[in-house]
């Protein structure tokens, strides 16, 4: 390869220019994101069943749909929530399943299931959507001001903004929160209606007749055809009130005589405020794989292009996730540039040659250019992991160029001509360099064995490193020799370069001298190393562990739960007070914006993504100022808010959670990282078990914000009809059910539709009893179910028992079984140890010892991914050993290099603890990389020693000489890698926190493995080489005797 390149220098130059140009063209076209595409394939089936309680929703809709959907090919598991008037089923598909075809199959299954659901329930047709379980909006669009009422704001946003946003490629939905759906209300005064012997049924019938949306036909005559239109739909809302309900004594009773006709909204079920002002907002969710920056840019462009805004109305984007993505990208890019500078400096110090530095420096951008082209071709984005991979690869790829350069230089010094030195020098190290490349790359192969999210996360990093290494190998074997041929020359260092050369030489001699003095104490060295490794292993087993490092995304979310039964108005008042307290106490220097969202929206697509299941639930989103502008980290602010809220609002349940996209991604569809699941069939028993689990969780240090999702104390009003006696007067159970529905929500199962001529939109016309009149449970009993021919009413309470009870606000299911979730947060501790303590405490406690408990969400993800990475580490060691054994044609020499692996643990543990970090998937990935790089260093050392031994040197001389000659390249490679990762390890740039543990593991691991293995590897080598010699001598003696 080198000979070919040297014969065609122009072709090499052209190839270099071509690669650089291609990379320059494709790189700006690559999408930028925080992470690789991590979204698991999930579909959501949403079914709105107005007026049905959670238990009815579960047994009539969810259960049936779940059964059918579970039978769809490719479905991994099914999770559902049955809420008031809404069934939501999350269909988790196996990784790699094609979402579009799965969506079609699930739609078919849903259609089959729906055929068996009675039409009288008024269930709306279900929708099946692709869903991002992180459920974190990429941006929100707030609409406020103009003096518009809730329904007006909602209507404007619904008709004018939502369709535009949902038309943006990559947007899954832009569902509305806050305000109320515009609706024409026929609010019946029960007293006036009763006095005129009317029920809501008759009034609703009159509304339907007065406002009929019907086809009018087509006139087909002999001479002409014509379309026919009637004014069956009321021209104005008020006109509906003019309709006659019935004639009494020759006089008409009009709708407006017994009811108020208002152009209003659906009953308030949700309230939203932004900085204390009423608003509505659109939650822009992306489809799985949607690009955050592109979506947000288009959303912003759409907002600015909005025309004919009502006077005073403001439309603004809030909680923009692209800010973090951009900051993260630019931070990482800056770190790469810093690393490049630092590495160049290191090379300059060790090579003492600007030309040599230039030659090595050329290798880095060329390798990166090759990598970027491959990443573009494979559809990867520029994210923390691909850019992190580039940073990580920088050291090893410098190593390749340096080894080639150093070899050429060495051959040059032996008196060869430049051309010969280049060819022989490059060829001499081609195999060892290939070995080190294979080792560094091979350790990444087991990543392919990871499953799910771990694989999605690390495959791009592994691909980046592997391509960089392969590219760098090609560059070091083709470009570096050509560059050396024309650029290297024979200059002798002078001035500062000479002094540097002497310093490096002295340092090398010093190392050789120390090595010579300590080598006789082989067992002491081994003993000390073993002691260090054991101590580090012991500490490592106690290191904090978390799935992913905490990232400051400047967005915090606080879930609030008041006492069940608290009204929406009261909950809104208190939530606003909570928001105001946080804004005041945390200060403007920390909090930019407070969004309060109380209650559950009544449109299905918004409700589907809302964590609020009832009017007593709320959440607050805090937009924090940029991390650079504040003194406190997001975690510190969260801890401070927690203390504040517990003090000021005792008893109100709060759960703190980071509100950004990154934090949400790893929660695997749950609100917080720490979620335990209890399964069972009986709700009461589940509730009891969940409460017991929560009580035990509270005993574990560091656990905060404990909350059970199953709450059986949500108020219920039960109307139990005495069928026999009610039947005597012609009252049926259906009459009772319909009356209670109309008394509370209205005839939502059979509404009329009115079309507003002004905007062409259609709105429901719903007839219901005035809520003021039906203010408590006993008032229900006075409502007429029917009116007899003699004009006498039969009231609801006459043949029904109305009593209070309690029940669940929602019923969750997992794998076709009811489930309760106990959520908690951690404060001042790591997720891993807390989860492990909880497991132990639950097993110990008699209240929970028998409970079927499993962690779900992030903890489950952490367990499976860590197990996968553990296996990957083991496999990496095995693969490295196999490569080295093949390369050295020996199993003894690779065994020596394996000793560099455990000693790296000393540095890994030290670096992580010094930075206050623990194990995470990124740290484990760093450990994987350390194995490759550390072993690669050892390969060059042992290879050199083995060569010298073969040439006849004694074992001790061969290893000391090899160590002395390999000292600078090893040091340079390690320092280049370490220094290149120092900016990331120090997390100097916002957004690089994700890669900090990886960098720390590599920096620490490589430092310890380099320093210790510079002594340990020669020691082990000596032991094994001498043993080998003894065996050979013994064999020789035996042969002599024979």
């Amino acid at each position: 390869m080198t000979a070919l390149a040297l014969r065609n220098p122009i072709a090499v130059l052209m190839a270099c220019i071509g690669v650089a140009v291609f990379a320059a063209v494709v790189t700006p076209r690559m999408s930028v994101d925080t992470f690789p595409e991590l979204t698991p394939p999930v579909l959501v089936v949403g079914t709105q069943a107005p007026g049905l309680g959670p238990k009815d929703v579960e047994k009539t809709i969810t259960w049936r749909l779940e059964k059918y959907v579970s039978a769809t090919p490719g479905v991994e598991h099914v999770i559902s929530t049955s809420r008031n008037g809404l069934s939501i089923i999350y269909v988790w598909l196996k990784w790699g399943t094609d979402l579009n075809s799965a969506q079609t199959l699930v739609q078919q299954q849903v259609a089959f299931a729906m055929a068996a659901i009675p039409k009288s329930l008024g269930v709306l047709p279900p929708f099946v959507l692709q869903y991002d379980p992180s459920n974190a909006p990429v941006v929100q669009v707030a609409v406020s001001g103009g003096g518009l009422s809730g329904p007006q704001l909602y209507d404007y946003a619904f008709n004018n903004i939502e369709p535009l946003l949902e038309g943006i490629p990559g947007v899954a939905s832009a569902s509305l929160n806050g305000g109320r759906q515009r609706q024409i209300n026929i609010v019946v005064d029960p007293i006036k209606a009763a006095a005129r012997r009317l029920t809501t049924k008759e009034i609703a019938e009159a509304v339907r007749n007065a406002n009929a949306l019907l086809p009018s036909g087509e006139l087909i005559a002999k001479q002409f055809d014509a379309n026919v239109y009637t004014n069956a739909v009321a021209p104005r809302v008020e006109a509906i009130g003019e309709a006659v309900v019935r004639q009494s004594g020759g006089r008409p009773v009009l709708i407006r005589d017994v009811a108020a006709v208002e152009d209003g909204g659906a009953p308030s079920t949700q309230s939203v405020s932004v900085n204390g002002h009423d608003a509505v907002y659109l939650n822009v969710l992306r489809v799985p794989g949607g690009n955050t920056i592109e979506i947000v840019d288009q959303v912003k462009a759409t907002i600015t292009q909005l025309k004919n805004l009502p006077p005073g109305v403001q439309v603004q984007s809030i909680f923009d996730q692209s800010t973090f993505v951009r900051a993260s990208y630019f931070g990482l890019r800056k770190e790469i540039l810093q690393a490049l500078g630092l590495i160049a400096l290191i090379i300059l110090v060790f090579l003492q040659s600007t030309r040599g530095t230039l030659i090595v420096a050329i290798a880095i951008p060329l390798s990166f250019a090759i990598t970027l082209i491959v990443l573009y071709a494979t559809g990867q984005t520029l994210n923390a992991f691909t850019l992190g991979g580039l940073t990580l690869a920088m050291g090893p790829l410098v190593d390749q160029a340096v080894v080639v350069l150093e070899s050429i230089h060495r051959h040059q010094k032996r008196g060869m001509s430049t051309a010969d030195a280049v060819l022989h020098g490059a060829n001499a190290v081609a195999l060892p360099v290939l070995g080190s490349v294979l080792c560094t790359t091979a350790v990444l192969l087991p990543v392919l064995l990871l499953a799910g999210l771990g694989k999605k996360l690390f495959a791009p990093l592994a691909l980046t490193v592997a391509v960089s290494m392969a590219g760098a190998y090609v560059v070091s074997m083709c470009v570096t020799p050509v560059a050396c041929r024309y650029l290297l020359g024979h200059s002798t260092p002078t001035g500062i370069w000479r002094r540097l050369e002497h310093a490096v030489d002295r340092f090398t001699q010093g190392y050789a001298s120390v090595l010579r003095r300590v080598l006789p104490f082989r067992w002491t060295i081994i003993g000390a190393a073993v002691a260090l490794v054991i101590a580090s292993g012991w500490v490592a087993s106690r290191l904090p562990s978390t799935f992913f490092p905490d990232i400051d995304e400047s967005m915090e979310r606080i879930y609030v739960r008041f006492a069940p039964g608290t009204s929406l108005a009261e909950a809104s008042r208190m939530t606003d007070a909570v928001g105001k307290l946080l804004a005041d106490k945390l200060g403007k220097e920390n909090v930019e914006l407070v969004l309060a969202n109380v209650g559950s929206p009544n449109n299905a697509r918004s409700a589907m993504t809302s964590p609020n299941w009832g009017p007593y639930m709320a959440f607050i989103r805090l937009a924090l100022t940029d991390p650079e502008r504040r003194k406190l980290s997001q975690q510190e602010l969260a801890d401070r808010s927690r203390a504040l809220l517990v003090r000021e609002f005792p008893g109100v349940e709060f759960v703190q959670a980071p509100g950004g996209l990154v934090a949400s991604v790893f929660n695997n569809g749950y609100l917080v990282p720490l979620v335990g699941e209890v399964r069972g069939d009986k709700l009461e028993l589940l509730d009891e078990e969940a409460r017991a689990v929560a009580a035990v969780m509270r005993t574990v240090p560091g656990v905060r914000d404990v909350e059970s999702t199953l709450d059986m104390s949500y108020p219920e009003v039960r109307v139990e009809v005495d069928r026999a006696t009610a039947g005597m007067v012609g009252v049926t159970a259906r009459n009772i059910g319909q009356t209670t529905l109309e008394a509370t929500l209205g005839n939502i199962n059979t509404p009329s539709v009115w079309i507003d001529g002004a905007n062409g939109q259609s709105y429901y016309v719903v007839t219901y009893y005035s809520h003021e009149a039906v203010s408590d449970a006993s008032a229900l009993g006075a409502l007429p179910v029917l009116i007899s021919d003699t004009g006498k009413p039969v009231t609801l309470g006459a043949y029904s028992r109305i009593r209070r009870s309690t029940g669940p606000v929602a019923i969750e299911r997992n794998q076709l079984q009811r489930a309760a979730h106990v959520m908690a947060q951690v404060e001042g501790r790591d997720l891993g140890s807390v989860a492990s303590d909880i497991r132990a405490a639950l097993a110990r406690d008699p209240r929970t010892a028998h409970v079927r408990f499993d962690f779900v969400g992030q903890v489950e993800l952490m367990s499976t991914t860590f197990a996968g990475l553990g296996m990957a580490l083991g496999l990496a060691v095995m693969v490295v050993f196999m490569i080295m054994a093949s390369q050295f044609r020996s199993v003894r020499l690779p065994f020596i290099m394996l000793f560099t692996i455990p000693v790296s643990l000393v540095g890994i543990v030290t670096a992580l603890m010094a930075a206050g970090q623990g194990f995470s998937i990124t740290a484990l990935m760093g450990m994987l990389m350390v194995i490759g790089i550390a072993v690669a260093n050892g390969i060059l050392l042992v290879d050199d020693a083995a060569r010298r031994l073969e040439e006849g040197a004694t074992p001790i001389e061969s290893i000391i000489e090899a160590a002395r000659s390999r000292f600078v390249p090893i040091l340079m490679t390690s320092l280049a890698t370490i220094i290149g990762l120092v900016p990331t390890a120090l997390a100097l740039e916002h957004g690089s926190e994700a890669n900090q543990p990886l960098a720390l593991a590599v920096v620490g691991g490589l430092t310890s493995s380099t320093v210790l293995s510079l002594f340990l590897v020669p020691t082990i080598y000596l032991l094994i080489a001498r043993r080998g010699n003894r065996v050979e001598r013994k064999l020789a003696r035996t042969e002599g005797h024979v």
Partner: protein
């Protein structure tokens, strides 16, 4: 040799010291990290709760009915015998009328003429009957003298009697006709007010057709129907709170009468409340909301509805006693507008947990703070 050994010892010591230092550093870092770990469990501190004070009160269940105000007397005035064109209608709704006052007249010319004809025919027949009677008396005298036969006398007497009967018949017919003539003048059956005027002059009315409605609302009846289960609730004499929607007036009354039987189709019990209305302040035919308190006032303790878990007639609340939360299961006395009335076994002034009940257990230590409403 000795120097080499000493040198070797120093090297060994240096290696061991270096390793020991590193171990100390690693363990030191671990201890530093461990010292920063949160060792405080939530269970170590009292559970925070918000409370409200229970209030002593009383509760009396109420029943609400919708009633209609009705006049004490109401008459639809119109012809009973005659069909005729309406001549005049002298009153309009709201007019106050006295008993016997003419309300309307009908065009009864036919009836008058018929009456006169009958009178004339009766008079002629009466004269003929008188002549016949005289002839009969004269024949009787002749018969005593033997100048006439007994048969002749008998025939004359019978004819005279027949004509007398015919006269009586015509007289009766005349009385009937005069009633018809009287029917043509419609009068107020009692003192009251005109509520409705159905017909205007020129219209043709038949017997039974009302021309006007006269009502007497010096006393008003509020009529309503209660479910059969409330039969005892609406017993005569039961106090009733009346709210008249038309005027907004709030009155107190008692159930005056109750039907002894239920309406078969609706199984409702009819009951009425009499209300004096001398000043005619209450309109009739309007809506009244009737509220009846059932039974005697029961002593109760008021707690916020959201502070209790209610199942049937039992409510569970948490009461803070000292620094401990105690679960109390109490009988529900009643509920009204967001307030729950429970058994007075719960003393007034008790601190009831309003927020923080979700994971609270009996006997838990709590840090209570009274909620400011």
């Amino acid at each position: 040799m000795h120097g080499d050994a000493a040198n070797g010892g120093r090297v060994r010591l240096a290696i061991l010291c270096g390793a020991a230092l590193l171990i100390v550093a690693v363990v030191g870092l671990y201890l530093r990290a461990a010292s920063r770990t949160n060792h405080v469990a939530l269970a170590q501190s009292a559970k925070p709760v918000s409370t409200e004070r229970a209030r002593g009160s009383s509760f009396r269940p109420v029943r609400t009915y919708i009633g209609t105000s009705a006049a004490w007397s109401s008459a639809r005035v119109g012809p009973q015998y005659v069909s005729a064109y309406v001549g005049t209608v002298l009153v309009r709704p709201g007019a106050v009328v006295k008993r016997g006052e003419v309300l309307a007249t009908l065009d009864c010319r036919n009836a008058s003429a018929a009456t006169r004809e009958i009178a004339a025919r009766a008079k002629a027949l009466e004269q003929r009957q008188l002549a016949m009677q005289h002839e009969a008396e004269r024949t009787r005298e002749m018969q005593s003298g033997g100048f006439a036969s007994a048969n002749e006398l008998e025939q004359l007497t019978a004819r005279s009697s027949a004509q007398a009967a015919e006269v009586e018949g015509l007289r009766a017919s005349m009385v009937s006709r005069s009633l018809e003539v009287d029917d043509c003048v419609l009068r107020a059956p009692f003192a009251g007010e005109v509520a409705d005027r159905f017909i205007d002059p020129g219209a043709y009315v038949r017997p039974g057709s009302p021309v006007v409605t006269v009502i007497d609302r010096n006393q008003v009846r509020i009529v309503a129907d209660a479910p059969e289960s409330d039969f005892a609730v609406v017993a005569a004499g039961t106090p009733v709170r009346i709210e008249v929607l038309a005027t907004g007036a709030k009155l107190d009354g008692v159930v005056s009468r109750r039907a002894p039987s239920a309406d078969e189709s609706t199984r409702t019990i009819h009951f009425e409340i009499d209300v004096a209305n001398a000043n005619h302040a209450l309109p009739v035919g309007s809506t009244a909301r009737l509220t009846i308190e059932v039974g005697a006032k029961q002593p109760a303790t008021e707690v916020p509805l959201s502070a209790a878990t209610i199942r049937g007639d039992r409510a569970t609340v948490f009461v803070v006693e000292g620094d401990v939360a105690r679960r109390k299961v109490l009988g529900v006395v009643g509920e009204a507008g967001g307030t729950l009335f429970v058994d007075p076994a719960l003393p007034a002034g008790a601190a009831i947990v309003v927020e923080g009940r979700a994971l609270l257990d009996d006997g838990d230590k709590v840090a209570a703070r009274e909620r400011q409403l």
